[in-house]
């Protein structure tokens, strides 16, 4: 059953005559229990898209979509109050910087109990028990002591676990994690990844994982959506997308990874920059940097082609013959 369905999501900022287009024509589907990886670099619009879903963008953003449905309910038709009721309870978010998403003036226990009170209510003693239980679920050692701790007394990994606890406090069915491990050490990252996987499986949550780290996403996701300059370039199942990418951008990203350049003196770098958000060409957005670009690519924009779970936006998607075997430099 489809948990989340989004069609043609567009997010714009700035004056209407010269809009800054952060996200354009994005389609997203997620089933319960599924993990979708949203992959892209700076300027891809991945964070803006998730904030738009949550309704968290500042008033100056213009968000429009043909369809934006959570569990069959139209998100755009909800009033502000109904949306707030949905947020945190059914849809929750975990952010990149754990210290920034916790209020430094209140103890961990206070923040957890406040969230629990907002979603479940009940006497204080019961809330405390639930808070302790949450801390245990996110594998925080010595939870009684941690309840009284303030965020600045916790390490990065601990704070992120508290952030996850806050996110699941309302028994969310859809969790959006925006670069949840980027600010953490590698060993802690592995622990948080294992925790997210376990929680997701136990609770049957849908998880949207936003990251620039392709390897991390390959470990967690069932399906991956690759964004570039606000548009979807490719979507496909893991591991097929990483083993046989069809869009030149996906392939270029993979080829630039150090682990695919073992033994080579130089990395196969993708030249150039992402086009600025207020100066996007009418042609294929990737064409200025694409090593396989042809005349048509510089003239028109391709549409998404392909079945629901394996789409690509390219006039000339890569066939096996063109793909350089990953690991061997071009």
């Amino acid at each position: 059953m489809s948990l989340l369905e989004v069609r043609n999501l567009t997010v714009q900022f700035g004056p209407r005559e010269r809009p800054v287009i952060a996200v354009e024509g994005l389609d997203l589907e997620l089933d319960a229990g599924e993990v979708l990886g949203l992959v892209g670099e700076s300027g891809s619009g991945k964070s803006v898209a998730s904030l738009a879903l949550m309704g968290l963008l500042a008033p100056q953003a213009r968000v429009s979509a043909d369809v934006m449905r959570y569990d069959g309910r139209d998100l755009q038709a909800l009033s502000a109050r109904e949306r707030r009721a949905l947020l945190g309870r059914e849809i929750a978010m975990v952010f990149q910087d754990p210290h920034a998403s916790l209020d430094p003036c209140f103890s961990v226990g206070d923040q957890l109990m406040e969230t629990l009170a907002a979603h479940h209510g009940g006497p204080r003693a019961k809330l405390r028990e639930q808070a302790l239980d949450l801390l245990r679920q996110v594998e925080i050692p010595d939870p009684e002591a941690r309840l009284k701790a303030y965020p600045h007394q916790l390490s990065g990994g601990m704070s992120q676990r508290v952030g996850i606890a806050l996110a699941i406090a309302g028994n969310a069915r859809l969790l959006i994690a925006d670069e949840p491990t980027t600010a953490l050490d590698v060993t802690v990252q592995a622990q948080i990844v294992a925790l997210l996987l376990r929680l997701q499986r136990e609770r049957g949550m849908g998880l949207i994982l936003i990251s620039h780290d392709l390897a991390l996403v390959s470990q967690l996701a069932h399906r991956v959506l690759v964004l570039y300059a606000g548009q979807e370039m490719e979507q496909g199942p893991v591991p097929a997308l990483f083993e046989a990418p069809r869009h030149p951008y996906t392939e270029a990203l993979l080829r630039a990874l150090p682990e695919h350049n073992r033994g080579a003196a130089r990395l196969q770098a993708l030249p150039g920059n992402v086009p600025a958000a207020d100066a996007r060409p009418a042609a294929c957005l990737f064409s200025p940097r694409c090593p396989h670009a042809q005349a048509r690519c510089h003239a028109e924009r391709p549409a998404l082609e392909g079945p629901g779970d394996a789409r690509v936006r390219c006039f000339f998607p890569l066939a096996d013959a063109q793909r350089h075997p990953l690991g061997a430099p071009a």
């Binding site: 590698v186 991390l216 130089r266 920059n273």
Partner: protein, 330 residues
Amino acid sequence: MSALLEVDALSKHYPLRRGVLAPALTLRALDQVSFRLEAGRTLAVVGESGSGKSTLARQLCFLETPTEGDVRLDGTPLASADRATLKRLRPQVQMVFQNPYASLNPRKRISALLEEPLAINTTLGASGRRSRALAMLERVGLSAEQAQRYPHMFSGGQRQRIAIARALMSSPRVVIADEPVSALDVSVQAQVLNLLMDLQAERELTYVFISHNLAVVEHIADEVLVMYLGHVVEQAERATLFARPRHPYTQALLAATPRLGQPAPANPARGEAPSLLAAQQGCAYAGRCPHAEARCREEVPRLRELEGTRVACHFAERISATASSGTPAR
């Protein structure tokens, strides 16, 4: 022949006074770090937060003086050097910082930023400085017209190139790169890494490359130094370390690093690094090490030779050592 850079039992302790009544604590950021680096090679320093790698970087740039031990540049000891010697040697060791948004003076134009090291260290006139600055700017892949712009007008990758250009203006022999690509996107990371390697070959630079990203380290390093809580725990040639890591911490790091196509580790290294303030008895890693025994908690292991590696572990011979070994089940 002495190496270009020699570090000898380098220690840096920070005393922390906690008021009149509480006893003073010592923050042992670096403890007995030693290594030799030959000219033209790249030493990668790997570690997570609290490992002391940033403190080491500051020591190598003579921003701070050591508590014990010494740093020798081309045979000249630095801790006891007089001001004139330091002034002469300073241009030979330069640094590239991690955060491209904080390492360039926001109130200065790029040309002024690049000319500053020349103004300080050479007697070149204004036009001489200008032409050298522009030449360096072009060498790192930017154009001369951009010299009059301010840092905030550039992307992260471009700023990092400017930072590299600035570091090279004083014609250094050693460049300390403190996580230079960690804040960059994958495709930009590849460009900047290529730039760094090209420059090294062109100018016979010696790099101390600090990173927590083992994939990048595997590509760029000749030799690897692994640090934990201020101590060196393992040191080896790159190929040796990645083929056969000896120290349990190195093994945990490698297991925790996400790799495309490999599943997440089922039992990631548990716990987190203890505080640098805690009194250390025995091996710093004992609290998290799955192989720890009584001796580990009592006796600090010394760095010793073991089949081409230097490792600080009492039981390094026993511990099975393949690159992808996870920690055994608890």
